[in-house]
């Protein structure tokens, strides 16, 4: 017979009425979150022109993919599948419940024919089984948790809600079974029919059914009301956080406008963040959304090598302060610790791993800005690098080289207004260290060979990016201003970079300060030259392992170009962690100038590269080159690290014109 909703239940409509107070409590709880988050500042403008589809501030694509579908969670396959089964199972079951409501209220004919058979019967039973399997897996994992879940603080509350969900699903099945035991089999309801065949008919069965029905209904409503007060609130916050995240990788720091400091008023805003009230709403939403899953902790180069920093730890601390309303409590910085704040390499591995789109380095860097610009507190060597950058326009303290030593003995053209096409940007990282100078020389040789119209600046200086990453936004703004002025005077419109940090700074931050020029990283340019047949290479066929620089790969998605360059001179091999999930060399965030605590990050990464068995380790960043070269010294005396430009130069068919090979190879 056709299923009768609320069969055997007197006053079943009470459940529909009770759903109203449950929803009210739910709404009140969500409002509480909003009230806390609202205390943050408006986010800084990033000035990026994205052609992303938007609904108000919400980015539709990331809202749907990272937010609703939860694409990131599948990076851990078992957890991902369990979570998927539970989530989509519950979505279907909720849809089924709503259809039952609709049937009661509007007589929607859901209990008829094929739809009843396949959806209300089979699909919903399958959904129940899926949800149950998923939640049981997750519960077991909570009971025997991996370290990432418990470090700093475990998310208490998940166990309760998981038991609650199990109870809801199991009672659901038994109600179905009890009903079927009385009324006969339902088409398609394979679980219900099976349970029904085992349950007794008669008074006891009817009472059991009634009893279970109310338990199930009330438990479900209680759970809905409890969502905002439990870790389940991520059902709401995670999609919101994903949608509100500007879909550009990296910490997205924007720039600071120092205009207001020029005036007479003493009311200058405090720089960076020393307390919760200084953070943006997005930062506070991040802290509220964080699930304490520790995926970021597992991939963080600092956390994994014994530094004080853990991105999860930072988020946990922020969330605790927010929970307790400590908006103006400046003990926050001590709670997180200066050491931790300065150990972040800004590699963004944490962001890449986070299933709920948290931007950890953004919060960390704001605290760093405060320490540096308001309190002048920074580790000693970073302090020296900062002073050098300020006085000498480069941070390479104690360098044995002058700004032009890298081009001694070779003829490098200067950029000429109106005639030169590309500015070959030298910056600091290929000028002041002997090992990296040959990257610049190789690049010059390649560009000459390929007949590219290029020139360099007569005086080379840093982009200012190291200052920015160390938290000295002010110095960055000054240096960038000078560079932009010089570029404008020279009419520079196209720039080639050899350092991904320069590339990132030029493309993300310079435009906000008024720059208007196109930038091409040397990896992209080299691939273009090879594809256009401007340079022909001989392939050695030897294995070459490629290390992704964070600021080229993860931050700017330049992944295939350097690989294609490597493949044209040898046989590309990958490390276990590569592409967007690459592991930092340790130099980012100004940590090239630091005294590392614990294991050295560069040694960890160098070992990973060495273990691939390749005899050459290629990279496309001078800082990575220096760090890996140094890290490798622990394991071998061989010089195995090469920049892609060096590799290309050494395998160019007719050799490097005008540049003696000795200057190029190392």
């Amino acid at each position: 017979m056709e299923r009768i909703p609320y069969w055997n239940i007197g006053y079943g409509l009470l459940i529909d009425l009770l759903s109203l107070p449950a929803l009210a409590v739910f709404g009140y709880g969500i409002y509480g979150h909003w009230k806390r988050i609202r205390q943050g500042k408006a986010s800084v403008k990033l000035g990026l022109t994205l052609d992303a589809l938007k609904l108000g501030p919400l980015h539709i694509r990331s809202f749907l993919t990272r937010g609703i579908v939860g694409t990131r969670i599948y990076r851990k396959l078992c957890t991902g599948i369990a979570h998927g089964l539970l989530f989509w199972g519950m979505v279907l079951l909720s849809a089924g419940t709503i259809l039952v409501f609709a049937n009661v209220l509007f007589r929607l004919p859901v209990f008829k024919g094929e739809f009843n058979h396949w959806f209300m019967g089979a699909a919903l039973d399958a959904a129940g089984v899926a949800a149950l399997a998923g939640v049981v897996y997750l519960l077991i994992r909570r009971l025997f948790p991996p370290e990432r879940l418990t470090c700093f603080r475990a998310n208490s509350g998940f166990i309760q809600v998981e038991i609650g969900i199990i109870a809801i699903v199991v009672t659901g099945f038994f109600i179905e079974g009890a009903r079927i035991a009385q009324n006969g089999a339902d088409p398609g309801s394979f679980v219900g029919n099976w349970l029904g065949s085992m349950l007794s008919v008669g008074r006891g069965g009817l009472e059991l059914h009634r009893y279970l029905w109310w338990t199930h209904g009330l438990l479900a409503l209680a759970t809905i009301a409890y969502i905002p007060f439990s870790p389940l609130v991520h059902l709401v916050l995670a999609p919101a956080n994903a949608g509100l995240d500007v879909p550009v990788p990296g910490p997205k720091m924007g720039v600071i406008d120092f205009e207001s400091f020029e005036g007479d008023g003493d009311e200058t805003p405090s720089l960076g963040a020393s307390k919760l009230a200084d953070f943006s709403r997005k930062n506070l939403l991040d802290a509220s959304t964080c699930l304490k899953c520790g995926r970021c902790h597992e991939v963080c180069p600092a956390a994994q090598t014994g530094k004080k920093l853990s991105p999860k730890g930072v988020m946990v601390t922020l969330a605790e302060y927010l929970q307790h309303g400590r908006m103006d409590d400046e003990s926050l910085l001590e709670a997180i610790s200066t050491d931790a704040i300065y150990s972040c390499t800004t590699c963004a591995a944490c962001m890449e791993a986070c299933p709920v789109s948290v931007n950890q380095p953004n919060a960390i860097l704001q605290m760093r800005q405060h320490l540096l610009m308001e309190r002048s507190e920074m580790p000693e060597i970073m302090g020296q690098a900062n002073r050098s950058l300020e006085a000498r326009h480069h941070p390479f303290i104690g360098t044995g080289f002058g700004p032009n030593d890298w081009r001694k003995g070779i003829d490098v053209p200067f950029y000429e207004k109106g005639t030169t096409e590309y500015l070959l940007w030298i910056g600091c990282s290929v000028a002041y260290e002997e090992r990296t100078q040959s990257i610049a020389r190789a690049m010059v040789a390649i560009l000459k060979h390929a007949g590219v119209s290029f020139g360099i600046l007569e005086e080379n200086r840093c982009t200012g990016d190291p200052a920015k990453q160390m938290g000295n936004e002010f110095l960055f703004t000054e240096i960038a201003g000078q560079n932009i002025e010089e570029f404008n005077d020279l009419g520079v419109t196209k720039v080639i970079t050899m350092c991904p940090h320069c590339f990132n700074s030029f493309t993300r931050h310079y435009p906000l300060l008024g720059a208007k020029f196109d930038v091409v990283p040397h990896a992209v340019l080299l691939r273009g030259l090879i594809e256009a047949g401007k340079i022909t290479l001989t392939n050695s066929g030897q294995a070459i392992c490629y290390h992704d620089p964070c600021y080229l790969g993860r931050h700017n998605q330049v992944l295939s170009e350097p690989r294609s360059v490597v493949s044209s001179v040898g046989q590309l091999v990958e490390m276990p962690r590569h592409g967007c999930e690459s592991f930092c060399c340790g130099a980012g965030g100004g940590n090239y100038w630091t005294e590392e605590e614990g294991t050295r990050i560069n040694q960890t990464r160098a070992k990973e590269a060495l273990d691939t068995g390749a005899k050459t380790i290629a990279t496309a960043c001078p800082f990575c080159m220096l760090m890996l070269t140094d890290g490798l010294k622990k394991f071998t005396e061989e010089q195995m690290v090469k920049d892609i430009a060096e590799l290309v130069c050494s395998r160019m068919e007719s050799g490097a014109q005008g540049v003696p090979q000795t200057l190029v190879s190392t």
């Binding site: 400091f261 020029e262 200058t268 006085a391 000498r392 080289f401 030593d405």
Partner: protein, 251 residues
Amino acid sequence: MHIIVLAKVVPDYEVPSADFELVGNRAHPRYTRMIGLYDENAIELGVQLKEKLGADLTVASYGLGDDVQFLRKALAMGADKVVLVEGTSDDPYVIAANLKEAIDRQGAVDLVLAGRQSSDMDRGVVPGVLAGMLDLPFVPQACGVESADGGWKIAQITETGKRLLKLSGTGVLSITSVPENVPRIPAVKAIFAAKKKPVEKLAEIGTGKMNVSELSVAIPKVESNCELIPAEDMDEAVRVLLRRLKEERYL
């Protein structure tokens, strides 16, 4: 209370030796300019005294008009004012006489701090000459100063140890570096505040020179010839090393 710190703007004192060149017996003008190394220690000490004693802190300098931009760093570190006598002489007597002129205009002065030596000339003469001109006691190689009933308690660092001195009244001290006077990095607000602090420029006064003239300046080129001695067998390596050192007449 009024404290004066002497600060000189000099060419980058950390230019790598391979990149260093002289023009007319002086560092090539292409190098960036900055306040001298020990002068920054003196400024830091001055700022600490200012903070402790509520003193006024004036930075006095003799040098190029364009160097004000670098002297602003002293203001950002905490000094209240800069007095710059514009001139180009390298003669210690001329410099000291002009600095005296600048100091005399500041009214009552309770203490004058200088760096132990400028980072370009590396002579350490100016503070002593100036003390003579001001008719004040001179204490070189000081590293710490405290106010003590009407005068100053001074720690002087020597090669072998530390000496505590008591100075009654005003004096000129030249300051050497110790961890306690590592120059602070100015906070951004202080940098902006420094832009509004007063800078007084004075014209040079003509005065006689020291009877010392510079005949020549030579900067030896640092050359490194590296010879690797195999170190598989330590005893053998030591023997080879000794023989080589003797052959080259280093021993």
